[in-house]
Symmetry: D3
Subunit: 319 residues, 6 copies
């Protein structure tokens, strides 16, 4: 006797939707070392300066990707040619932020060791996770020189001595801990009244490269990212792409704790992510500071998920 | 080498949360015939008179129950003593409502045959599913006499000859198809200006039992349900409990397509569901017409999930 | 050749829905003098202390009543036995509040003259309209002694010398203009921290009758209204029932500019409106301070519309 | 005696607002055969793949147009020079989607016969209505060769054999039923991850013309539409313009069931609609998949209404 | 020359509104030692298990109280007879939760020393602040025996060894640190499926007193609180009243991170707060876990502010 | 003994945030005559044609600016080099709109006299305030010839004889009262169907200069503003910049009573405000018609605040 007509989600051999393609793994174990990309959630947001439920984005992203096809019509690329695994979420402590950060670093170090060739994709969480992810990458391979391509409304150069390892500080942590040199940080997307002059002076003193959104638009955001990657690639072994969703204009991204007017449009951001995905030296990336509980009409969650897929489109185009 | 510290949801031997306890099954197969209860989603709402995304409630309910403990402190009952399985969702067609209904009837017939002792719990979907669920129950066991305990703001006695098998018609379908006798329908919760006089006259002509919310409150909603179950039990073999979430006042249930003021409070509804769960003859139930996309602050989804768990608390108290 | 299958709303001889029953009139003209009730919109809210779009309620109410049946199952009454006309909205000026108020008084005076037997039902607008409606009634019939049954969280006794004819002042206007005596004002529903002590002292000085919600609940709100009407009826010729929607608890009525916690439930308010409708001396009423733009899930608009229909149910029960 | 000062909406000889100009007709009857344009509502959305209240857009559009002037300052055109009639809504069945579609085809056939020169404007409803509208047009005039100018994020080429006549299938229905040739379909606006590769291959196999939004933007969306209309006009007798509101970016159109990031801006869409309105061969159009219940701040409803008026501006410029 | 007609908020000698009465102090300094009550904000919520912006409630409460009169009409009490000072917010660290908690303890100890007779009122913040406030009280006066009157949906007895000093643990911290004895904890308001059985067993093992909401309602919530205070007063020197806003039903309090159906009504809570305010031994209180960013129509913020004022009404009635 | 660790907002000598820099003054008194700029709130919106809570924007703006830095990274300008004072809000009457307007004129006249060199910045309020602000400026200095640079979706030339001094009429008031000549009004931003043809004809008859948004975009909005200012500067002594927030597209500004699709983007508006700020002859400005109660995700309030700061950046660049 055949059972009743029930429907269950599953990955398929001939996938059309993202959830039929990306393979979830129990306990983060078992992905082949040569996977094209591995995805992991970093559900931490108690380190955020503004109250944030960015910790809910990994789950929200997984739900949202059910609404996306694997086929990108803009580039005529089908992502299903890539092998991509979802390792699940790193374990977080409720109140011990130090332990959370330590878990992230350990997990990212382990992932790098187990998947030396895979592109690593962290789904945040707030921006504090970037400092710890790169710490993990350096633990896995202390000799690799890493540069940072940052899309952000902010420098994230605030002082950890004052704020602790909060989401306003990761780039400064990386520079002060000598994990990334200031001159290997490229920030595109700054605008308006959202950074103090002191931070700009810190950036200058450490030779951080940055360009405001208005200026980047003169060349085109995508072109500017391409140029920045090209410059970085002359200097470093690996490039880490960090996408703070607050780089977007709040009309496109209300679901961000410190969302601002005057920011990037989603079409610009998707192109930037595509360009990053295409570059051979981009070995890891993250998407941070997206708070699904603040979202309106699901638009920020869809935009964040699209960034991930635009980046993967680029990865597929490397081949 | 131990893997990185990842976290994955799973059912546990010593569960504290509902999702650690209710066991999901692939393809609706494999639950033991003697499970205490089986849950199945009925994600159909294109048969709704008002536009409705009630089809999204089964998934919303599964997400919501992660926020509920298995332990009911009001009754000092731990649901984890029950064996409960989640069979998944019945397959629905996008535009062929007849096929959808046919699937529901087949699925429910099969479930009844495979789980003759289990309490069957359908998570709707709109109220049209009730007519088809009971059709399935009758197919599985044509000789069983079924009575209906209905909590509803409406009679649901509108004319299928006019509307087709829409969510305003299930009780009339059941009566006209002689699956349930009019006198074995007990409706508690009618109020206000939400039924035409013609429907009331139809109810009278078919000896449908009904009592308005205001009158039920004089005895207490729970007591009134208890009394109705007692009367029904004299007459029928099995009682089907159907909970239309529109019975609730809209202050408690904004996420209902035809939500109204002047309805039931959640504490009254939860007590009613508990009482139904306790009665030995209640062998099946459903929760319908909850549209998560209309919800405010998640309150209706939480209320609907609570109804399911209050009912199961009653089932646990049968033992 | 028959035309294409188009659908148009219209009043019907055998109505089931409210909009098939209430007859709209162009220009407020032509209702028979002996109509049971006449309805008119008073779309003024620039006189509100808090910014308010209560001026949008008349239209919102007309749209909402399409979702209501003419049949009240609680009382087994069909409203279609009543002849009720919708006269449309009184004309308002954008910035000349004095002219607005003058129009309201003139319109209400004219309506009273043309429909001396009809129950007059004003759909506000903010509470300032009550002072002008009653002014109109007195112009039409200077000798009638009018009492006020007020359901309100506030006294509405603030000083027009200070605020002008704002929505916090109508009852004081009526007393000071000797249109209604202080002792013929009965206010039920006061609660919490929403009136200054000075207003309470003014009420006492003018023998305004009032009872807090908590105290009214000890007898039952409906019973208390019944009692107040009985007392008023000993003293006055006509009773005017004014329902300020801010009397409701904000869980039931978020769509009110000065909505508060600790207020009335809708079931209590509907019963109160029914009781007012039943009383022979209640010749006019209004529903005020409902701002549809602030509403959540349409619940306040539905509640306000229900008040109107509950009241009319009472009117139907007079016969 | 003059009546009280009441205000009632009506069409005016010297209109300034859209509702003072467009003339509503009872029962869809009586518009002169030579009206410049006729508008009709197609309130069907149970055929939508995602739950949708697009059936509520016709009424929402009529309410929204009260906020629009007849004068377009961009083109210095006053729409009141056109004679435009509102025929009302076609009758829909609650659950019999086949009957709904059949009504739409009959109504559109009748309208075309009664108004052979008028531009026909259908206010949806979901996108399934397009297949039936064109079916009606072909019934009225079997020899007319019709081409399709489609603004859409999707191909709408999904398989009706699988989904029935759902809103993902209308273009495929038209091709398979040989009502429109594949090569006479021009789709502008595709982007991102919202079509499977299989659909793209179907499009290619049937010579459907399409261009992604990113590519269209290089020429300018308006220019690209102009070009597509020019090409189509070489091949067909009449052009049908179908505007799926999901072509818009979700920042501009949250009130769309399958709204996506990376879509068109409203200024681009309004220009496209204007260009379509200007073209002599565009004899019919529709606006579909706008769900007012999902809207935020009324912006999608206003955008949809603006599309209708931008199109009519083009029609006025034909003269 | 007199200046232009500008308006500025200030406290008044003859206040009518709360903000004209409560006196804000710079730096928490300068309130007389014999103030009737002192208010202080505890803007910490990174210790919350669910993401929370409860840290924003102190400011939201101060804004909300501008909408409240000093006069309570239910009790005929004018709060302006009390001297109440607002000390401002305690300083919090962005990521160092330990330092935040230490600041709270220090601040509360200092406040108790400076205002030995004043009722202390802490505006949270999440529930973790209660453990630290009482720690501060004990530091200020180690010999005082403190009992806890807790209104809460949860026991808050989760294990700090597992969660750290999170908002699910404060009562267990107090018991384990021997600051309050288990038998001196009275919890009123538990209901539903929101506590694990293990927590209930811990409560029993430590003789925590608790009663579910359903049972408390049989006596009346206010009466039950009165009874609990009476019992506590036999055993302890001071009673600390902690009001977790999640005790409310979510229809009344959507702005709470873990809001649930089946909870308390605001009228019950306000009465409970009044009763607590009246009791001489209640020397401190707090209001916690109210997240203004999740609020709907401002209702939870108004409810939380009302709790504060209902409590103060009780304090005024002590005299 | 040092007090407890409390935090209080205050202006700082070395400010990083806007609220640490702008100095609030009690009663509008005491700002030095040579302040670079003075800010004052104009909390009036009962003169709005559509119901509006624009009166709440001054307070909302002050709260919002706490989230802005004083440093503008786009221009590398730190606003803290400017001396700016907040004079508070002008007093408004609840119902006497004439008195409100008179207060505004008096206040603005006084401010101009006391601060002859300061840039005056009015935070509305609805657009009716502009007519009265300029009336005040002319009272202070009758000989100054003032031109108007208006960013607006509307002409605001409606007839005060019909509407009174409503927010659709200020420019016409100015022209008819001969405070500003028609030819000295430059309106940039008109678009779509939001002005009647009659208003356009009035504009033409009075030589009002205007350009639609679409046409302005061809040169660039900023460039067009620059050009308009240059032309105006040839003709007038002082330029008044009035920014009606309804000039923005509703995707960027849902919190505007008459918000429309097809409007300006925020990046265009911020550039326009910067350009105005830079021009020596711009001596006063206002920001109007922003209703915080209608806002979504706080985006319109942030945009309005950004306009103020972009303008001040321009002022700082004058030096």
């Amino acid at each position: 006797m055949q059972g009743p007509p029930f429907l269950w989600g599953q990955t398929k051999n001939n996938p059309e939707k993202v959830h039929e393609w990306i393979r979830p793994l129990q306990g983060g174990q078992g992905a082949p070392g040569d996977a094209d990309a591995v995805i992991y959630g970093l559900p931490l947001s108690s380190s955020s300066i503004s109250p944030s439920a960015a910790s809910a984005f990994p789950e929200a992203c997984r739900r949202a990707w059910k609404g996306f096809s694997t086929y990108n019509i803009d580039e005529d690329v089908d992502l299903s040619s890539l092998s991509v695994y979802d390792l699940g979420d790193t374990i977080q402590h409720v109140t011990d932020i130090g332990q959370c950060h330590s878990h992230i670093a350990t997990a990212c170090s382990d992932i790098r060791k187990q998947h030396p060739q895979s592109v690593m994709m962290g789904i945040g969480g707030d921006h504090s996770v970037t400092a710890k992810t790169i710490l993990g990458l350096k633990e896995a391979d202390p000799n690799v020189k890493i540069g940072l391509l940052q899309l952000d409304t902010h420098f994230d150069l605030r002082n950890p001595a004052e704020l602790g390892p909060a989401n306003g500080t990761p780039v400064r942590q990386l520079i002060e801990q000598e994990l990334v040199e200031g001159k290997h940080v490229y920030n595109i997307g700054l605008h308006g009244f959202f950074n103090s002059r002191a931070l700009k002076e810190f950036a200058d003193a450490h030779q951080v490269k940055y360009i405001t959104l208005n200026k980047a638009r003169k060349m085109g955001v995508g072109k500017m990212v391409e140029h920045a990657l090209w410059e970085l690639a002359q200097e470093v072994d690996h490039i880490y792409f960090t996408c703070d969703m607050d780089v977007l204009d709040m009309a496109y991204a209300p679901g961000v704790p410190a969302t601002t007017p005057g920011g990037m449009r989603t079409d610009e951001l998707f192109e930037a992510a595509l360009v990053c995905g295409q570059h051979e030296k981009v070995k890891a990336m993250d998407i941070v500071c997206l708070d699904p509980e603040k979202d309106v009409a699901g638009m920020t969650v869809k935009a964040g998920t699209h960034v991930m897929l635009s980046f993967l489109t680029g990865v597929a185009m490397r081949k």
